[in-house]
Amino acid sequence: MTAPGTPVDLSGARKVAPFAPDLLQTTEHHLCSGCGHPVAWRLIVEVLDELDLVNRSIGVVGHGCYTQIITTADVEFFQCLHGRAPAVAMGMKRMLPDRAIYTIQGDGDMVSEGLAEILHVAARGESITCLMLDNGVFGDTGGHMTATTTVGQRTKTDVSGRSASEYGYPIPVADFVAQLPGVAYVARGAVDRPNAVARTRRYLRNAFEAQVAGEGFSLVEILTMCPTGWSVPADQGAQYQREQMNATYPLGELRAR
């Protein structure tokens, strides 16, 4: 710990960024050094607050490292079965059509286990918002390959990197969903650098606005760092993400409102 220093003189200063949104009951979490998920958590909670949805929304959260948000964010959550969040969210939305119902899922949850659910619910054009935190690994269970692991990406399944000949190719589910009629908005963001973070916040906002306006299904994929899963030092996570994930999954709005 650094020696206690002179308190910062903040007279004449205005705060432009708090430590964390008030909606997070604690800033402590057990995610790894350099993990991108907590950045995404912060954006989700900030957007719910900005859009005045805090007491009018329910999050349906799958299984992964990101699940811990259900113990820290002061909004209502339903922790559901791996992959099934879009179906659960659809059932909720039908009974509570004037609430914002959204999912938070990892890539393993949404694209491996839950591929049928995301495609079916998107095709139905349900006005729910699905969020995928994509790092190309099953982080919570040890770092194995998922259906979105990019070619060449290191995971526990193969630390030499995914080879297409052995494991096939990743599934860009956001690109598929963007083509379906009844889908109102699809975007892919990332949290590896501040301007990507800023764009991702706007994408999240657009997605929730689309739901509130009843325009149809919305999906935001957020590429997040997992240095532990990728076997890189924490301070190289952002660079590795750009080389592997951002390079495979183009960022931006795949289906604009």
Binding site: V16, L31, G237, A238
Partner: protein, 101 residues
């Protein structure tokens, strides 16, 4: 625990307050800091992680807060000079133009 910016000979444009007890030493803040005023030190917190230090020249751009997974940074700007605000606007415009792809 907070750290103070070093003594500076001209009025600072911004500063940060850092909750270093929860820092996990990932180092992501260092390369994103646009004025390059964050550097990792050899100091460690109770969890054993190495910690960043703020040098002179913070502009309060909040890039560190945006990227930090552990919510270590609280960012402030000093509003005393209009010209400095204009400089801030230029810096933000540069950031928006920065290509991500």
């Amino acid at each position: 625990m907070t750290t103070a910016p070093h003594h500076t000979s001209h009025a600072p444009r911004g500063t940060v307050v850092m909750a270093l007890e929860r820092c996990k030493g990932c180092g992501l803040c260092v390369p994103v800091c646009m004025p390059r005023v964050l550097e990792m030190t050899e100091e460690r917190n109770a969890k054993g992680y190495v910690l960043p230090r703020l040098l002179d020249g913070c502009t309060g751009c909040r890039a560190c807060a945006d990227i930090c997974p552990d919510y270590v940074f609280e960012v402030y700007r000093f509003d005393h000079v209009d010209a400095l605000d204009a400089l801030d606007a230029d810096a933000d415009a540069d950031a928006d133009a920065d290509e991500v792809h």
